[in-house]
Amino acid sequence: MHETSTEQGLPRAAAVVLVAVALVCGVLLAIGPGDYPSLHTILDTSLALLLGVVALLLWDMGQHAGSSFLKWLGITFAATCVLAIIHVLVTVEWSGPLAMIARLRSFLRPATWPPATHLLPIGVGWALWRMWRGVTGRTFSYAVGIIVLGAGLFTAFQQLPTYLPPGPLGITRPALVLAPLLWAGVGVAAWRLRALNRLAQALVWTAGTLCLANTVMLCSRAPADGPAMAAHLGRVGGFLVLLLSAMQMASRDLRERIRAESALASLNEDLDRRVAVQTAALQEGEAKFRSVVENMSEGLMIFDPQGKVLFHNPASARMHAIELEEVGLLRRDELPVKWRVCDKDGVRLPFDSWPIGRVLRGERFQEQHLQVERVDTGATFDAVCNGSPIYSAGGDFILGFITLRDVQDDIHAQRELARANDLLRGFTDAVPGLIYAKDRDSRMLFANNGTAELIGRDRSEFIGKTDAEFLDDKAQGEAVMANDRHVMSTGVSEQVEEHVSFANGTAATWLSTKAPLRDREGRITGVIGLSVDISARKATEAELQLLNDRLENQAAELTAANGRLNEALTHRELLVREVYHRVKNNMQMVDSILVMQEGHLADPEAKNALTSLRGRVYALGLVHHQLMGSANLRTFDVAPFLRELTTNIMDGGASRGVSVRVSADPLDVGLDFAIPLGLLVTELVTNSLKHAFPSGEGHIDVLLSRNPDGSFALVVSDNGTGYDCDDSSQSAGAGGLGSKIIRALVSQLKATMKIQSDHGTRAEIHIGAPA
């Protein structure tokens, strides 16, 4: 920066040139008028060359910097250079073939330099003026103007006088007075316009120097005298100042350009690096974005401001049932398939209300439900869509996008769920009793109508609440919840009776089957229950229980009575046995008496009578003996009795050669029948033994048979001698005790007796059915 500030002023080299030129001029002027033709030639030549160099430099700078001003200056200097060269050419003393040029001198006067002297400040001033006016370009018109001006000046000065005798201020060439004034004007203008162009600064010095030089020239008397040389030197200095300034500017521009280029190169490098990094990041980001977009379950469509779909992700393509290659670059109204779009309620949407149309109008929307139908195939899908436009920083619509979520399955699942729910509710509401589900804290999750009726409130009033909260009787609620907790803690379903009153206050008993509610992993998440009103059953049970108790009491009483009866019966049996025992004992006593009596008798008749008596006593005793041995103490089988009876009679009889056979049908007989029967058999058998077998040999048959009508036949027969008889009464031993007894017994038995005597005796007694 400091460089720039110093270079705003006069270059050091130019200052040195100016100082040197000033010193030489001072010396030349101090010497007084002299003649320096060689120097004049050298200086004129230098001036011409210098003007050419400056002209080229300025044109080049103008070309590079794109500055019309510099180009104009270049043109001016070039034109001046041409004039200067003409001046030099006509000044030189030519010889040989070039002497022709020397001959031109007569035509072209030696004073050919003034046109150049005037052309230059005018051209520079014009260029400054154009710059000040802001004119750019139009170089050609400027060049034409300069050439015309140069030609005009050249012609004009051909006519003007050259050297005159010194006038005021020693001016010998008044025609040239305009030149320093022009340069002064140019200097002032350059100074005022120095801000517009860097070279204007240098022009100030150049103009100042040339103004002085041309002023001195006014005093020159010959082409090569001292003042003329000073003027020439001043011109050379002024042009050098311009040249050096221009060169310095050029070199500075070059440096700055190099610096700028290196900075640019490093910036470029940096930029390349950043671009590389950002490109990588973008590629990575895009890869991620693409991966997300391609794998997301939601469909994504991106479209441009014309509604042309630029992108479908796979989900969107799947939902639309289109091939990915098929779309992409197709306009929405050129899609190969036609769509029909309806809203949630099935109302057909016009084309402009489709999601793309809405986004194109700048709308943002979310969770819009759509039913989309593909016209050609009839395939439909339900979707929830979101849409939004994307704007650039400048607020221009650049892209729009739509996301689609296929909710077909959701809707089906919801319908299925609803159907299952309806079914469940239908079942549960149809079931008499309560069905419910509760969560871990016994808050009601589900309840059927029965439950709502029990509680007496609308479902919404107790769902989510506990029994303790919605039941009027808090104690009942707590008891129910305690049962719930027990089921949930054990994980085992159970049946409990619960007491929960109806909403109208009627007490009720419920048989509740409660089971743990488990989730998919088997964790217990609550309890489900089924409760049936068993109040009526409980009442019936209570009545039954009461009846049962009564019956049991009665049964107990009956048992007690039965016990007493049994006791009485046992007692009676004991008594009966005792009686029989005593009867038998008494019989034994009677028999003992008879035995002893027998011993005191000598009369065989009497002895026989006693023996018969003993037989009868024995028969009585045997009846009691049989009774005592029977189970019921009242009846006994008649066959063993008859057998024992006859055996005993036979044993007591003297006739060992007589055999007896007893055959009897099974017949239970009582005391009233057995005693007469036994006595009858005793008498009849004894009779046979006494009378039928004089030889001591024979056989007796005792037969008791039962007739189908229930009557009996007792037959006692022997194969003995028999006896003569006219009538049965006699034959039974008329007058004998035995016969009397037999008749009495037959009569007692309400029987009839028939006695036959034919090859033995046969007594046949028919007895009616025993009462």
Binding site: Q588, V590, Y618
Partner: protein, 127 residues
């Protein structure tokens, strides 16, 4: 055995029955050595007379019954005991059978039954 006497001991609490039985035994030509109406007396007499046969009633005077007496007699003396009882009570029969009775006769007993039983008992003893 040989020291047993050819006597019969009659045990019954009813004196008439004792007399009747005695008459019938004597009619068989056997001697009745003694008669008793209690168990203790029966044992005492049996020890004294050592009879071959004892006619034993079940029901006796005193606390003990015929079986009590018969058990001791059978054990100590070895007499054949013929029970003569009016009872067919099953308990009584079971109790009698605990004493290896020679015979059980139920009242009223016919002369023949008694004769057969005693005869069998004596015959067994003698032989």
């Amino acid at each position: 055995m040989s020291d047993l006497q050819r006597h019969v001991l009659v045990v019954d609490d009813d004196f008439l029955i004792v007399m009747g039985l005695t008459k019938q035994v004597e009619d068989m030509g056997l001697a009745v050595c003694a008669s008793a109406s209690t168990a203790d007396k029966a044992i005492e007499l049996a020890r004294l007379h050592r009879p071959m046969v004892v006619l034993m009633d079940m029901r006796l005077d005193g606390a003990k019954d015929g079986v009590d007496a018969a058990l001791v007699i059978h054990e100590e003396i070895g007499s054949k005991v013929i029970y003569i009882t009016g009872s067919q009570d099953p308990n009584t029969v079971v109790r009698i059978n605990t004493d290896h009775p020679f015979a059980i006769l139920f009242k009223p007993v016919s002369s023949q039954q008694l004769r057969d039983a005693i005869g069998a008992a004596i015959g067994l003893c003698v032989v």
